[in-house]
């Protein structure tokens, strides 16, 4: 009888286990997939300085410039080995006194992060710590023009910071400048209509 019993037991086991197995696979149709469809969806807002830190301590991410303390010395532009920084300095009327004598002002500060190789040579000679590396690194863009970051609006020239001997000026928190300019930009955004560049500075200007 043993053979007959095992014969029918086999049939029963095959049916029951298939039934249970199919109930399990079917149940997965009613759950969300675990996949996060990067970059359309991200698991959580980026928190480069908060939360569990996985980057090395001295990680060199995207460059950013705190325009409030930039002295327009052009040291970074000269230091850059691949010329991804371009700075425009002009004499313009003072912003709060259109009739006053022209003053020296920054009209352009562009960094092409598509070219940048994150060597850090620009941040070393900066006298005020205005240009520095952040800890942001997610910059995948379908249009490469979106990687050009403009820190100065040509319509609103910036008066350079006056460097004082022996003083390191306070800057805005690291990463707060680049976030609205690049990190929050949609990866699939159309290429920007770059505003017309300021006219070339007259010969002799610094």
């Amino acid at each position: 009888m043993g053979a007959v019993q095992s014969y029918f037991r086999d049939i029963k086991n095959a049916l029951l286990s298939s039934f249970e197995g199919m109930a399990v696979t079917m149940s997965w149709l009613f759950r969300r997939p675990i996949t996060i469809q990067y970059p359309y969806h991200k698991s959580e807002p980026q928190k480069p300085l908060g939360g569990p830190e996985t980057l090395p301590e001295r990680y060199r991410g995207f460059l950013e410039v705190d325009m409030a303390v930039c002295s327009a010395c052009l040291a970074c532009e000269r230091a850059c080995p691949i010329e991804c920084i371009s700075i425009g300095v002009e004499k313009v009327p003072p912003p709060n006194d259109p009739a006053g004598a022209p003053v020296r002002a920054l009209v352009r500060f562009d960094i092409d992060l598509g070219k940048c190789m994150y060597c850090g040579l620009c941040s070393e000679p900066c006298p005020t710590g205005a240009i520095r590396h952040t800890r942001h690194f997610e910059g995948a863009m379908t249009q490469v023009e979106n990687l050009v970051v403009r820190f100065v609006d040509p319509a609103k020239p910036v008066i350079p910071y006056k460097v004082k001997k022996g003083e390191t000026p306070a800057t805005v928190p690291n990463g707060s400048v680049i976030e609205p300019l690049l990190v929050r930009r949609h990866f699939d955004a159309p290429a920007p209509e770059l505003p017309p560049l300021a006219p070339a500075p007259p010969a002799g200007a610094p």
């Binding site: 014969y7 086999d10 049939i11 298939s18 039934f19 249970e20 197995g21 199919m22 109930a23 399990v24 696979t25 079917m26 149940s27 997965w28 149709l29 009613f30 759950r31 969300r32 997939p33 675990i34 996949t35 469809q37």
Partner: protein
């Protein structure tokens, strides 16, 4: 089809000496339609399979090409067509080149007798079931040919396995269809469907494609035979858990190892189109075919014009929904069960399925004597079996719910796509 030929001859005033050619043109056109249908169905099937597989593995599946990835199969086909068609140097060239087409034509020819609706059928042969079983066996020749002609160990192993498997499972598959043929008294596919419609003058609750008119709920044996048939068709279509002919872990890709480009695509189209034939045969013999619940044959006979068109569309919809359910079952089984060993596969066929079909055949014969189809006893049995069948479905739904609710990860109820 004959009406179509006559209509063409009458409309175009075809002279009698040209009429064979017009008939041939109609046959060619219909054959082309079926090949096209098979190819498109295979593409949609691949899409569904990949999406469902994705969800069962908690990923998304292809969703880039077209809306929700629906056009992925076109991209795949274009890729396959543009690939180089390599013929191995040591291959038997004529056989190698011919084999995929034999397999493909064997599958597509099976479509000829599968009815989609009362009038949408290419040829209503009076030996339809026999024809399908016979013509789909031609694929064995193609598989064996490719295995031999490839001149490769893996391909030959795959071909041999496929031949053994397909020939073995023909028997339980045919035997499982036999009681249905006996109940209907005909082998014509349309005849078998018509026999599952209840009496022409019946109350609407007894007429048409209600589950209690389906052969699957005729008796416990028919219920078991449906599953026997389903398992046998899985094996004939070389689907998991019986996909030994192409077991990747052992045989690279089995009999189609050496193929590339369009010929490889032809194999896959044939294999996936085969699931339609499996599903359609199951629906025709066990699940009432295109019968609409509550619509008796008398209604079909009376209808004309727009009503007729509507009825035909409704019948087509019934047929497609049932096939989709069976095909979904085939896909789901693939992601549920692991592959069986070759000796286990043979054991399942010869020791379990075949004796069961013989016992069930004679039991159904006895049943037909004790409770003929029209008798009240048979009707009560059919109601009881329907209750049991839907009870099983309910148990299944309850088990699915249990698995969703008791998941360790938070499981969110959400629709499939």
């Amino acid at each position: 089809m004959q009406q179509l030929v006559d209509w063409l001859n009458a409309t175009l005033n075809v002279p009698p000496s040209w009429q064979p050619y017009s008939a041939a043109a109609i046959v060619l056109a219909i054959a082309f339609c079926f090949a096209l249908f098979a190819a498109i169905y295979a593409g949609v099937f691949i899409f569904m399979e990949r999406r469902i597989a994705g969800r069962m593995m908690s990923r998304v599946g292809p969703n880039r090409v077209g809306p929700q990835g629906l056009l992925q199969f076109i991209a795949d086909a274009v890729k396959l067509i543009f690939k180089e068609d390599i013929v191995p140097a040591a291959a038997d060239k004529p056989l190698f080149l011919l084999a995929p087409y034999i397999m493909f034509s064997g599958v597509v020819a099976g479509f000829a007798v599968l009815p989609f609706s009362p009038r949408l059928v290419a040829a209503d042969l009076n030996i339809g079931i026999l024809y399908v079983l016979a013509i789909t066996s031609v694929t064995v020749v193609g598989v064996l040919m490719s295995g031999w002609a490839s001149n490769s160990k893996w391909a030959l192993f795959g071909g041999m396995r496929a031949a053994a498997q397909l020939v073995s499972y023909e028997i339980p598959s045919g035997m499982a269809l036999l009681p249905g043929v006996l109940l209907a008294g005909t082998m014509s596919t349309q005849g078998i469907i018509a026999a599952q419609s209840g009496a022409p003058d019946a109350h609407w609750l007894l007429a048409g494609g209600w589950p209690w008119n389906w052969y699957i709920f005729h008796s416990p044996m028919m219920f078991a035979l449906f599953f026997v048939f389903f398992i046998a068709q899985l094996a004939e279509g070389a689907r998991i858990p019986f996909d030994l002919p192409e077991g990747e872990s052992e045989l690279v890709s089995g009999y189609n190892t050496e193929y590339s480009g369009f010929r490889f695509g032809a194999y896959f189209t044939a294999e996936f189109a085969n699931t339609w034939i499996a599903g359609a045969l199951g629906v025709i013999v066990f699940l009432g075919g295109w019968q609409i619940p509550g619509v008796s044959p008398a209604v079909f006979a009376r209808a004309e014009g727009g009503t007729l068109l509507l009825l035909e569309l409704a019948a087509l919809l019934c047929f497609l929904v049932k096939i989709a359910a069976l095909v979904f079952l085939i896909i789901q089984l693939r992601w549920t069960l692991p592959r069986v060993r070759i000796d286990q596969m043979m054991t399942v066929c010869w020791k379990y399925l075949l004796p069961l079909t013989f016992v069930a055949l004679f039991a159904v014969l006895g049943w037909m004597i004790v409770w003929p189809w029209e008798s009240t006893g048979s009707l009560l049995w059919r109601f009881a079996m329907t209750l049991i069948g839907f009870g099983l479905l309910g148990t299944y739904a309850w088990r699915v719910r249990y698995n969703v609710v008791s998941a360790k990860e938070p499981a969110y109820l959400r629709w499939i796509i």
